[in-house]
């Protein structure tokens, strides 16, 4: 009896366990799955050459198409599909899109456009963006106008819109970069301030080569530039108006040297280093009242200050701990907080326009790096490594960092490079001469 009872009970448990198992497997509601692994690859897009709508528009239509494609590809996030693979040929800007033809060549985005150039030099460009696999237009079509001399800006604006609609990020193509253009041998370099489109086009010089110039920085509105010049024989901070190219000296104090200037987010406050009696400290200057304020007072060297985007904090470089490290303090001064604790020497910190990261230069084991870290110093990531990398500057959307890289040896020369904050897409920025100290402007109005 005992054996029989045990057998019945065992069978009962087995049966009930099976019932439980089935109930556990059977789903309630929809089938649910979770995906944690995707791919990171450029998104393929098709861009048929924008259609010229009037005779004489062909050249600018081609130029705009090429600049739009180059802008998108330079991000490393997009890949242009070779036009020879196209099945559909667009003949009319308003003709319906044959999505199947674009899907067949794996185009995920399609950009169509048309350009009209009038006899009085006015350029009109209109474009549409399509999500091919969804079979929908992504946003509404746009029409932009300008002059024949500003057609590259029109192209950058088109690319900005496409980039922003697909990535959800703020754009950065319609922006400029001020930098120090260098000519001559390494032991006798001639340095001039120059300005160019973000992609290296339209270079213009802002100063002559009579005086050594350093550290140019844009104002938040992009119409003024701060820089350091040795025009008087020792370093002083200057303010230059981009439109008129007029300049004036700032923070002029007898027996002192001022350098490393940078605008505050309000555009009226300048933070800079002032060296007096061999000691450097950080000061602010109110451009409206011309009043200065000392923020640090330490026997060590404090320099390279940079405001947070909300203007509440300043990140700077100091060797108060014995080696150059990165510190953060309130914008009104106060006790600094060290945030860099890795091996090596840290310098030139710059707060991201997004506010979430700080870019810096790091020197360790004979190599220079451009890196980023959280504003509390965590999650440090080195993005580059070379003989000499320094001077990071953020793109207006906080997505890309431009910096100077110098090659070794007597024939070594500085050049500008850019890198995505993910560490991908390291590429050289074309400049006519050697170049250093890049500073990215905000988006142009």
């Amino acid at each position: 009896m005992t054996f029989l009872r045990s057998l019945i009970l065992t069978l009962g448990v087995v049966v009930s366990a099976s019932v439980f198992s089935f109930a556990a497997i059977a789903q309630n509601g929809p089938l649910r799955i979770e995906i944690t692994e995707g791919v990171i690859e450029p998104l393929p897009f098709a861009l048929p050459t924008f259609m010229p709508e009037a005779a004489g528009s062909e050249e600018i239509a081609l130029g705009i198409s090429q600049v739009v494609a180059a802008d998108l590809q330079a991000t490393g996030l997009f890949r242009q599909i070779d036009p020879s693979a196209f099945i559909s040929q667009t003949s009319d800007f308003n003709s319906p899109v044959q999505y199947a033809d674009w899907r067949a060549i794996n185009a995920q985005a399609l950009i169509t456009g048309a350009v009209n150039v009038t006899s009085d030099g006015q350029v009109t460009v209109k474009f549409r963006l399509y999500d091919v696999f969804s079979g929908n237009e992504l946003g509404e079509g746009l029409r932009l106008g300008g002059t024949t001399t500003s057609w590259r800006r029109l192209a950058h604006r088109v690319a900005d819109t496409v980039y922003s609609r697909i990535t959800g990020e703020d754009p950065y193509f319609d922006s400029r970069v001020v930098f120090v253009s260098e000519t001559g041998p390494k032991n006798d370099r001639r340095k001039r301030l120059a300005i160019m489109d973000y992609d290296g086009a339209n270079v213009q010089f802002l100063t002559d080569s009579n005086a050594l110039v350093l550290n140019p920085r844009f104002s938040p509105t992009g119409d003024r530039i701060l820089y350091t010049s040795y025009e008087s024989g020792f370093p002083q901070v200057y303010l230059l108006d981009v439109g008129s190219v007029q300049r004036r000296v700032l923070a002029e104090q007898q027996g002192t040297m001022s350098f490393a200037p940078r605008f505050g987010p309000d555009g009226q406050t300048v933070v800079y280093s002032l060296s007096s009696g061999g000691n450097s400290d950080i000061y602010t200057l109110d451009l409206r009242t011309n009043q200065t304020r000392r923020l640090t007072s330490a026997p060590s060297i404090e320099t390279a200050p940079s405001f947070s985007p909300d203007g509440s904090q300043i990140v700077f470089e100091s060797d108060r701990s014995g080696s150059p490290q990165i510190y953060v303090m309130p914008a009104t001064g106060g006790e600094p907080r060290r945030i860099s604790f890795g091996e090596g020497r840290y310098g030139t910190p710059v707060w991201s326009p997004r506010g979430d990261l700080i870019a810096f230069t790091k020197q360790n084991e004979g190599r220079f790096h451009i890196g980023v870290m959280r504003t509390d110093g965590s999650e440090e990531r080195l993005l580059t490594a070379s003989f000499l990398d320094e001077g990071p500057s953020w793109s207006p959307n906080g997505r890309v960092i431009m910096f100077m890289r110098e090659t070794a040896g007597a024939g070594g020369a500085p050049a500008l490079y850019s890198v995505d904050i993910s560490g991908r897409n390291l590429r050289r920025v074309n400049t006519p001469n050697a170049a250093s100290d890049p500073a990215w402007s905000p988006l142009l109005p």
Partner: protein
């Protein structure tokens, strides 16, 4: 009545005999103890040998008795070397270890990440230059191939080269340096004397408190019956057999291959759950894709994350997912969670 006593007595007798003499018949498998023969020398002998060594100052000679490890042809580690201990051993700078195991150089066999334009869960080697790049590998088909069904000729295609993680310039490593041993071979140790055998000491075992009599089997059955009798609080899901783990995994992999994550964007901080309805041919019902929920990020970032997820589902499901039609009720409605957390750290 007595029959029971006889059976019980016989059983007990057999048990006692098995305890007393069972070891002679049924010997349990015991792990073999490795025995190494050693010679014991006195302190005076050792001092004499040491003194002789100090006077002669001869450089240590390699011990001929220790055969070098044979070249390793496979990935299996070399067999432990059993050293033969000789009287002249004290001159050897590297006495054998206790176990006779020779420590080999430590070589890091972790694959070295290499930079590539594409980052994917599975690495893809650099394709041949003449091979076309496609989303999935394709074998070349020529017109001369004889097949029962007509096959459209096509070019051979391979997936684009891919790495499993982002490799920044600062993280790129010298391949040869990475293959170098992490540390060098360590001298082995002298064998020590075997530990004295310690007789097991039997300790008095506390008398166990008798537990109240329970029947776990009966309890389980009662619990199952009770639960079965309870009215269902929530409506049951679709009927029929559920998808197997492999079928679910197939769908997950299919969608993930088209989920392109922009790791530098704010959308990479957003987890979205996307719901959709499916046709019987395993394609997605038009306009059924919807954002069920999201976590993290701003509204704009959420929308970007949703669009990327939507694009992935549509693109890789354009020809229908590989799902069993007989289980259509199970996958008619699907919710997919796109969580980029692991991608952010790449």
């Amino acid at each position: 009545m007595k029959t029971g006593h006889y059976i019980s007595g016989g059983g007990h007798l057999a048990l006692i005999c098995w305890i007393l003499f069972g070891g002679l018949i049924w010997r349990s498998e015991r792990s073999e103890v490795q025995v190494t023969s050693v010679s014991i020398m006195s302190e005076a002998e050792f001092a004499a040998i040491a003194a002789a060594t100090a006077v002669v100052q001869t450089p240590p000679e390699p011990v001929e008795e220790i055969t070098p490890p044979t070249p390793v042809e496979t990935e299996t580690p070399p067999e432990p070397i059993a050293p033969e201990v000789d009287e002249t051993i004290p001159e050897t700078p590297a006495p054998p270890s206790e176990t006779g195991t020779t420590e080999q150089p430590q070589i890091d066999t972790t694959p070295i990440p290499r930079p590539a334009d594409r980052v994917a869960p599975e690495p893809v080697e650099t394709p041949e230059p003449e091979v076309e790049i496609a989303d999935v590998p394709v074998e070349a088909v020529s017109e001369t191939v004889e097949a029962e069904a007509p096959v459209e000729p096509r070019e051979e295609a391979a997936q684009e080269e891919a790495s499993t993680e982002i490799v920044t310039e600062a993280e790129q490593v010298d391949t040869l340096a990475a293959l170098a041993p992490a540390r060098s071979r360590r001298p082995t140790a002298r064998p020590s004397r075997p530990d004295p055998v310690v007789e097991p000491v039997s300790e008095p075992v506390a008398e166990a408190t008798p537990e109240p009599e329970v029947d776990p089997l009966a309890d389980l059955i009662n619990q199952a019956v009770n639960e079965a009798n309870e009215p269902a609080e929530t409506p049951r899901g679709p009927s029929g057999p559920p998808l197997t783990r492999g079928e679910r995994e197939g769908l997950r992999v299919a969608v993930s291959q088209c989920w392109n994550v922009d790791v530098g964007s704010t959308a990479a901080n957003v987890t979205v759950v996307v719901g959709m309805s499916m046709n019987r041919d395993a394609t997605v019902v038009s306009n059924s894709l919807r954002l069920v929920s999201s976590e993290g990020g701003s509204g704009r970032a959420v929308d970007t994350a949703f669009q990327a997820a939507r694009r992935a589902i549509i693109r890789c499901g354009a020809r229908g997912y590989d799902l069993p039609i007989e289980k259509y009720e199970q996958w008619r409605d699907i919710e997919i969670t796109f969580n980029p957390e692991r991608m952010r750290t790449r």
